[in-house]
């Protein structure tokens, strides 16, 4: 179920809360080193799909394969090992409020590496610098702003240099410059570390700037409407909903005479 290219494979995935189906029959492949965007209108199940991919919500049907290993079919130990290869940025940052930012980042390092306290602090400092929070090591999450929390959450997600980074709405609530820097950072992580990145977002600027590949989820038909490169989908998709979404509802051709 995998070749060198495909990193994450999703087959026949159906997501449901009890009897209420959110999305059905999702099929897509995320290639290694790609920035893969999950998009769709509000409430279409983007975040639920993300939860199924990172192991927080068992799908009603189907499975997610990581390098050929099925996640939901695996036992608990294997799942934990798989999860250690992920880094996740949650919507609100989800920082542990009883720890400073440096401790938030350092927790996984302390648990899973042999680094000493000074080295862990260096890593935390470096990660915070990457997200533009240099000097905030000793702050508690409730002392910083919402956008800063989000960036600190990203620094925490990157702590162990994960193979796959999952971002839930990374640029929501950030100013345009910070959002742009975040996009640059995402591309840089992909370039220099070869990280595969899965982003849930509906920020069009961001989608076109970073997305190599995408899936479009629709709330009405409860399934995927399109997959492919977002720029190509915008220009060539035959599906009116997808085209309208990617052009902010402007139905006309991009350059009317």
């Amino acid at each position: 179920m995998s070749d060198a290219q495909s990193h994450i494979v999703v087959r026949d995935l159906t997501l449901a809360f009890d009897d209420f189906v959110v999305q059905r029959d999702l099929q897509f492949t995320v290639n290694r080193g790609d920035v893969f965007v999950i998009m769709g209108g509000s409430g279409c199940g983007k975040s639920t799909l993300l939860k199924a991919m990172i192991g927080l919500k068992r799908p009603a049907r189907g499975d997610v394969w990581y390098d050929g290993q099925a996640y939901w079919d695996a036992d608990e130990t294997e799942q934990a090992l798989l999860r250690r290869r992920f880094g996740t940025l949650f919507q609100g940052g989800a920082l542990w409020s009883s720890m400073t930012l440096a401790e938030n980042i350092g927790l996984a390092l302390r648990q899973y590496t042999d680094l000493n306290a000074a080295q862990i602090r260096d890593v935390a400092a470096y990660k915070l610098m990457l997200v533009g929070l240099s000097g905030f090591e000793d702050y508690y999450p409730n002392e910083i702003s919402g956008g800063m929390k989000k960036r600190a959450g990203l620094a925490r997600a990157m702590a162990l240099d994960p193979e796959i980074l999952f971002f839930d709405e990374p640029s929501a609530g950030l100013d345009p410059l910070t959002a742009k820097r975040l996009d640059d950072l995402i591309l840089e992580l992909r370039e220099s570390l070869g990280t595969t990145i899965v982003v849930v977002t509906h920020e069009l600027a961001s989608i076109f700037a970073i997305g190599d590949d995408c899936i479009f989820l629709d709330a009405d038909s409860k399934t995927q409407l399109a997959t492919g490169n977002p720029r190509e989908l915008r220009d060539h998709s035959t599906n009116p909903i997808v085209r309208s979404f990617l052009r902010r509802g402007e139905h006309e051709e991009p350059s009317p005479a």
Binding site: M129, F136, P141, R181, S192
Partner: protein, 384 residues
């Protein structure tokens, strides 16, 4: 590939050589620099930079193998201390990706004054800070009590905005839903009193006075105090957690911006619910306590039901009963106020909610015990 033999080349103590006049310090990094491996400490190199304050720090990375954050965190530390000494870092030899990530890390200037010095303030400063904080929280408590009194006035005049359905839910939570645990505690306390009474009084042939002991103890002191402590842990804590969580979610601010007084909306209905329910729960607790005592008394003493019941009824006067119920009203008010006040004073994080809850229970119990003592003294002086 992943032989993961790591070596930081400068440490041989001669590797980081200061090349005399040129003032260039060469730092050699080789091997696999991976987080999962065994990384050497950067401290000796940093120490060296600080000691020699070179003009340039040159990075030598010919034999560098695989790398990840493990390498970058060390490079960041080196570059920082080099910059602190005013030395230029020559990073041209680094692999492309490392150089770009390094540049990205230094792209945003550190915000002026953001960094904190973790120095522990001297004892007198800490004592002073604590004292000021204690005074401030006492002031807050007083201000909160004042706000509640004003809000209660508005409530009585029907000018307070709150939801009747909320009030009903609070009454249910503080009343009916507390019955099972109140039954258990009161019944057992009654039984314990009866045991002690039988043990002590029986040898004197005064076993029947166990009925008096249980009835007076339950009605005057035990039922009000036990119920109040129970409600401090059960309802006071839940008030603090509910309001504290609303505070964290900015729900309290949302009420304020809509022009609604959060004390009117959140605090007063809760206090009223508990003040209404507390005497009822206490009365119920008194009854069950006496029943618990009776089960022990009847099984261990040679008395009949009627005799025991008459003895109990003779022991309990109306003054005792009303005195106990008045206490429970006071306790209910204090417990609810402590819970709501801690909730309203809650900070902005999940941890703060936990602290607020703990403080609400501690404060509630302290207030119960202190006010119980004060009331007992007053009752004695009034001859009740």
């Amino acid at each position: 590939m992943s032989a993961a033999v790591l070596s930081c080349s400068p440490p041989e103590d001669t590797d980081s050589q200061r090349e005399g006049a040129s003032g260039t310090l060469t730092v050699t990094l080789s091997g696999d620099w991976l987080l999962s491996g065994d990384l050497p400490s950067a401290a000796p190199v940093l120490e060296r930079i600080r000691a020699t304050s070179p003009v340039r720090v040159r990075l030598h990375t010919e034999d560098l193998g695989n790398w990840d954050t493990g390498l970058l965190s060390v490079l960041v530390a080196i570059r920082r201390s080099a910059e602190a000494e005013g030395a230029a870092l020559d990073a041209d030899a680094l692999p492309e990706g490392v150089r770009r990530l390094l540049a990205l890390a230094f792209a945003v200037k550190e915000r002026e004054g953001a960094r904190r010095t973790a120095a522990r303030p001297p004892f007198v400063t800490r004592l002073g800070t604590r004292t000021i904080e204690a005074a401030r929280s006492a002031h807050e408590l007083l201000a909160f009590t004042g706000e509640f009194v004003l809000s209660f006035g508005r409530f009585l005049r029907g000018r307070a905005t709150y939801l009747r359905s909320d009030l009903a839910v609070y009454i249910q939570e503080a009343g009916v839903e507390a019955l099972p645990i109140a039954s258990l505690i009161s019944f057992l306390v009654g039984m314990i009193f009866a045991f002690v009474g039988v043990m002590q009084l029986e040898p004197f042939g005064a076993g029947i006075y166990t009925a008096d002991l249980v009835a007076i103890a339950m009605v005057r002191e035990m039922a009000p105090i036990m119920t109040a402590i129970l409600m401090a842990g059960r309802t006071g804590a839940s008030y603090a957690a509910q309001i504290g969580t609303m505070k964290v979610n900015e729900e309290v601010d949302a009420l304020t911006t809509l022009g609604m007084n959060p004390v009117d909306f959140l605090v007063t209905p809760r206090v009223i619910a508990l003040v209404l329910m507390m005497p009822l729960l206490t009365l119920y607790g008194e009854l069950l306590g006496i029943l618990g005592g009776m089960t022990v008394g009847l099984s261990m003493l040679d008395v009949g039901f009627m005799q025991y019941a008459r003895q109990t009824l003779d022991a309990v006067t109306l003054e005792y009963l009303l005195g106990g119920l008045f206490k429970s009203v006071v306790f209910g008010c204090l417990v609810a106020l402590a819970g709501c006040q801690q909730g309203m004073a809650c900070g902005g994080s999940a941890m703060a909610v936990g602290q607020a809850t703990t403080r609400a229970v501690v404060m509630g119990i302290v207030l119960i015990v202190v006010s119980a003592s004060v009331l007992t003294v007053i009752y004695i002086n009034l001859g009740i």
